[in-house]
């Protein structure tokens, strides 16, 4: 019943609903990519630099080497979404652990954790990501970890605030009185109650992570084995005079995905905080 109400509140936000539907389409596209386009997207299949609509076989045209743009976009969705999700998972894991520990224990642990958050906010984020990737190597795992490392601070602050508000509530005191250990109280009792606003924030972190990844790939520092959307924009950069659509199309894909994730975040926020809904 409560869940239905929640979904109802979410769906009342039309933008959020459209965002959710579109993201679902992108996710399905990513999942089913090999079904629609069984051929390796990086294989040359036609004439180079065919404009969208010029050849019905290639609705989005071909790139400078004659590779199918549509196939590359669909396959690129996999890389882009996966990196976004994993990086956000890393950020959430770090952020929730740090924030929960800081908020629950307070005192000097809190002080250290918040100074650390400040530190990671001080280092210019993309420069940090590039430095990590350059020094440790341009692999998918390193990129995901690097983005996670620069994205955890808002989640930690949010988790900490929730824990501060919850840690002295009756049900927690009851657990303490029963002699329950700190870890069990944190993970089993407080965390489930603290999670909803954190989840909202995570959806925004996915959007941010996708933008990070696209910038890294655009600069040519992405994993060379992965054709993400950012890399496609970077590849098309040399041809803006003759065939600017090669840059434009993957950029539109990034923008729509990020836009939808932001809309979903807004919708979740409204649904979780009905008080703020009418703002």
């Amino acid at each position: 019943m409560q869940r239905l109400e929640f979904i109802g509140r979410f769906a009342r936000n039309r933008g959020a609903l459209i965002g959710a539907v579109l993201i679902l389409v992108v996710a399905l596209m990513a999942l089913l990519a090999p079904l629609f386009f069984p051929v390796d997207p990086l294989r040359i299949v036609g004439q180079p630099e065919l404009w969208p609509g010029e050849d019905p076989d290639f609705p989005l045209g071909t790139d400078s080497l004659g590779r199918d743009m549509l196939s590359m976009i669909v396959h690129g969705a996999r890389a882009t979404l996966l990196i976004g999700l994993f990086a956000s998972a890393v950020a959430t894991l770090i952020g929730v652990s740090v924030g929960a520990t800081a908020g629950y224990f307070g005192g000097w642990i809190d002080e250290i954790a918040m100074r650390a958050a400040e530190l990671f906010q001080t280092i210019p984020n993309l420069i940090f990501v590039l430095t990590i990737v350059v020094i440790l190597g341009s692999t998918l795992a390193n990129i995901v970890i690097a983005i996670g490392i620069v994205s955890w601070t808002p989640i930690a602050r949010m988790t900490r605030a929730e824990f501060l508000a919850l840690r002295d509530r009756e049900f927690v005191q009851a657990c303490r009185a029963m002699g329950m250990g700190d870890f069990r109280i944190i993970a089993g009792e407080i965390l489930p109650n603290a999670l909803p606003p954190v989840i909202v924030l995570s959806s925004l972190v996915v959007a941010g992570a996708i933008l990070f990844e696209s910038a890294v790939s655009f600069l040519g520092l992405g994993d060379p084995n992965v054709a993400s959307w950012g890399r496609l924009v970077g590849d098309g950069r040399q041809l803006i005079r003759s065939s600017w659509y090669i840059c434009a199309i993957p950029g539109v894909a990034i923008m729509i995905t990020v836009l939808c994730l932001n809309l979903i975040g807004d919708g979740l926020n409204d649904a979780l905080n009905p008080k703020l809904r009418d703002r």
Partner: protein, 345 residues
């Protein structure tokens, strides 16, 4: 300190002015002290990255041109104490950085600090112009949307803000180049000055401004979108507060209230966000600079990254953090000026 000097008998206006200056100085001192552990943290992270890197520190510092001169290698070995235990290496590293010794860039054949400080002004120019644009556009669009709330204008502003909030800056930059440089031919494709420009100092400034327009748009519109959203909701929130009703009740017109009462208070969240995002703006300029061949720190970073010139990369990270800390202090002072009630948080 200066606050204590103001005698109680002094006219209230002067006392207020000098105590505010004293408060600002106190804030400045406190922030500077807080900056020390922060910088230390940045340096330690740097050091950890160096230790994590495959290959030795020596290889990292000389990776560029395969320095094979035994005397140079011996010098580096001595400077950074590579035969010492790790903790002593860290101490020596910190000591070197405190003297602004960021190592030597063999590619440019000059100290890293010189290479970076040559590129810093261009980046600061781009940052300042983008933030100015973002504030001007964001604040005015937010005010328009909030004054005309739930009208066509409000929706238009919201949709535009959503669009620019989701568009990757580098892509927006390329699209701007396609439209304004390639198709229309109005603005230069990239660079900061026209090569061989001989129009004198005034012409030179105009020339730079001409080159500055597109990169500023590409970097600034993202932040303009954020400030628009924040400004709109903040204006709507402040407009409901009691003091606004009081101002209206004492006979001020709606415009007067909006400008002199609501606007000033609604700006506070925008300033807060501006401070938090200083590092992001600097980082964002890295990508934008590479799109527009803007000769700033971003271009240097990109070159250094491609050629694995680690000392420069690490130096940019440290100096970038320093710029962020300085900018944050400046933002705090602005905040205090806008809202005298808040002294030090």
């Amino acid at each position: 300190m200066a606050g204590e000097l103001a005698s109680p008998a002094a006219p209230p206006r002067i006392a207020r002015g000098s105590s505010r200056r004293a408060a600002a100085l106190r804030l400045l001192r406190r922030r500077l002290i807080q900056a020390v552990p922060l910088m230390l943290g940045v340096v330690v992270i740097n050091f950890v990255l160096i230790q994590l890197a495959p290959g030795s520190f020596l290889e990292l510092m000389t990776a560029e041109n395969q320095v094979s001169d035994p005397a140079t290698i011996e010098l580096l070995r001595k400077t950074y104490g590579l035969d010492d235990p790790v903790w002593l290496q860290l101490v020596k590293y910190i000591w070197a950085l405190m003297q602004f010794d960021f190592g030597f860039s063999y590619r440019q054949n000059r100290p890293v600090i010189d290479a970076i400080s040559d590129h810093l002004p261009a980046t600061l120019l781009l940052m300042i112009s983008s933030i100015t644009l973002a504030l001007a556009v964001g604040v005015s669009a937010g005010v328009v949307a909030s004054v005309k709330v739930r009208t066509f204008w409000d929706s238009l502003v919201s949709v535009a803000a959503m669009f620019f909030f989701a568009a990757p800056g580098f892509w927006l930059g390329i699209m701007l180049i396609v439209l304004f440089s390639v198709k229309l031919g109005w603005l230069p494709v990239g660079g900061m000055m026209t090569i061989g420009d001989r129009s004198g100092a005034a012409g030179g400034v105009l020339d730079i401004l001409h080159h500055l327009i597109l990169p500023t748009l590409a970097l600034g519109l993202f932040y303009a979108a954020i400030y628009t959203r924040v400004m709109r909701s903040s204006m709507l929130e402040v407009a409901q507060l009691d003091f606004v009703r009081t101002a209206r009740a004492k006979g001020l017109s709606r415009n007067q209230v909006t400008i002199s009462h609501v606007l000033r208070n609604a700006l506070l969240p925008v300033v807060t966000i501006l401070g938090v995002q200083m590092g992001t703006v600097l980082a964002g300029s890295v990508v934008i600079e590479s799109v527009f061949s803007w000769p700033g720190v971003g271009s240097l970073l990109f070159d250094s990254v491609s050629s694995r010139n680690y000392p420069v990369v690490l130096g940019i990270m440290v100096l970038g953090s320093l710029v962020v800390i300085a900018a944050n202090i400046a933002v705090d002072l602005v905040y205090m000026w806008l809202d005298p009630r808040i002294e030090i948080r």
